[in-house]
């Protein structure tokens, strides 16, 4: 049984690329819209997808949680976005940052970019930058849309408008290609955000997931739940020989043995694959290799 569980963990980790591809496809299922420059506006758009995926992507199946959160907070009718906060808690408590590692299309995009061969740099020395994403969450996603409003209480979705590179990649670029009217309206803001996107692309080639580590407010939300989420990673201390391989392979700079549920862990499973003693594995609702072992 123990072996089986661990096999399952390893298999999941190995299949990660395919799961990411499938999740991206499901999140953006309305492919024909891409060529028409039209946004799908059906009922599914009232529900959030787990990952960072622009509502304005013509193919998008659902709404972006961060975009929806700002839209509600910034509207004159509502003070706070309880509905979307519910989504955050639901996704956060069940999966946590497993979403970043397995389900987020922009995470996959950065993973693919990082596979481009070339010199790679470690982000271990840049750890303080991790806190930037919490500042972005508080300032651009919550405070500015809530407080910087016009006379009738409407705010801008500041993160979407001024920062989000996913919005340019999935929203602005395909929409402007498929829709002449939108193309004619592109201006300085579009150029500015293209520069952000290009910077993220270049940084993603050099570093592993710079956007997730330093900028993403959705990752910041899910990271708060990482310690309590039903799905997490455990290390079986009776098996661990302390070789340190897990921490060595971790691209999110987590010390796996000390803090397997660190807020930065995106559950990519690199440590599970690397462990020579099969001591690291996923667990869901406390069911893990370790517990099976105790029986």
């Amino acid at each position: 049984m123990d072996k089986k569980k661990n096999m399952l963990s390893k298999k999941t980790a190995k299949l990660r690329g395919w799961i990411q591809a499938a999740a991206t496809l499901l999140t953006n299922i309305h492919i024909p819209n891409l060529f028409q420059g039209k946004i799908y506006q059906g009922n599914a758009k009232t529900v959030c997808v787990p990952g960072l995926n622009c509502y304005s992507c013509p193919a998008a199946a659902g709404a972006c949680p961060i975009g929806a959160f700002q839209a509600v907070i910034g509207s004159s009718k509502f003070k706070f976005s309880y509905y979307i906060t519910g989504f955050f808690i639901l996704f956060g408590v069940t999966l946590g940052r497993f979403i970043c590692g397995f389900l987020c299309p922009f995470g996959w995009f950065q993973d693919l970019l990082h596979k481009i061969p070339g010199k790679k740099f470690s982000t271990a020395r840049l750890k303080p930058l991790r806190y930037l994403k919490y500042i972005i969450l508080i300032v651009f996603v919550i405070l500015l849309p809530m407080l910087a409003t016009n006379s009738i209480g409407m705010g801008d979705p500041f993160f979407c408008k001024y920062i989000c590179p996913q919005g340019v990649l999935e929203g602005a670029i395909p929409l402007s290609i498929g829709n002449a009217a939108i193309r004619s309206a592109l201006g300085k803001l579009f150029s500015f955000k293209c520069i952000i996107l290009i910077s993220v692309v270049v940084l993603s080639i050099l570093f592993y997931r710079p956007f997730c580590k330093w900028i993403c407010p959705l990752g910041a939300v899910y990271s708060l739940f990482n310690k309590v989420s039903l799905l997490n990673i455990t290390v079986d201390n009776s098996k661990c020989v302390g070789c340190g391989k897990c921490s060595e392979v971790c691209k999110m700079d987590v010390d796996v043995r000390k803090t397997p549920d660190h807020p930065e862990c995106i559950r990519c499973g690199a440590c599970i694959k690397a462990c020579p003693k099969d001591a690291v594995c996923y667990q869901f609702m406390g069911r893990s290799c370790q517990k099976q072992d105790n029986r």
Binding site: F35, I39, Q41, I152, M154, P174, I177, G178, A181
Partner: protein, 298 residues
Amino acid sequence: MKTKLSFISILTLCITLSLTACGGKQTAATDPKDTQTTTATEASDSRLDDLYQQENQLFADHADAWNKVFAMMDKSDADPNGNYADYLADTVESNKTSFTDDELKTLTEDIESIRKIDEEIAEIEQKNSLSDNSSQKDNSESASVFSNFSGQDFDGNTVDSSLFSGNAVTVVNFWFTGCKPCVAELSKLNELNDTIRSMGGEVIGINTETFDENKDAIKEAASVLESQGAKYRNISIDSSSAAGKYASEIMAFPTTILVDRNGNIVGDPMLGGIDNKDNYDALMEQIQSVIAADSTNK
């Protein structure tokens, strides 16, 4: 393991490349689609100019002989739809005796060259008129959007396409209540309405949330309009109508279009608020040109 690694990296590379390739192809496919017809006509226009130049050059090269021919021409005979080369040949033929052999030779050679040039001109003109027809077809599609227009203003009065026929130009602004940039330009639209009323124009608002006489949405939109001091008419339309379908295709708000007296959409839709001065000036210029066109048509 190594083969797998290289397989993965090749796969990734393929995906990234195909993504970028698709992107590139799309740009290439769509961008030129718009410009293609214009560049094609531009190219054929310059070719036409070129051909006319060639003909004139022939006349200029042998100016002595040709001036003689032109002097002999009976202008009442000239048939604009007939073949120009035939006409020239006839003139030369009927006055054969007044030319020297040399002159006759150059004239007949020139006439043959002109005949060839004319054939090419005719071909290009035919092509151009075909593409003109196709673009006219597009226009007629956009014209039908407001041909059977009906709706209700926020006070419950019904309106129909007489809404458009009463004005030289109608500025139709599509917006929705939760759209901040839309709300930001409402006061400016009201200003615009006041300005163009005296010129024979009117501003109309169509709020996409108020479709199908949605009472709550109308109430909300009305209060937003009031808060911004906007007094021009806003119309609630049916989402299933042609205008409703046109509005549901709009992917960016605010969008403003101009409609002439006959219910035809004039020019391209304008995206973005007119609280931006460049947008206001561009729109005003378009409005004036529609009004000018309207007064010449009368």
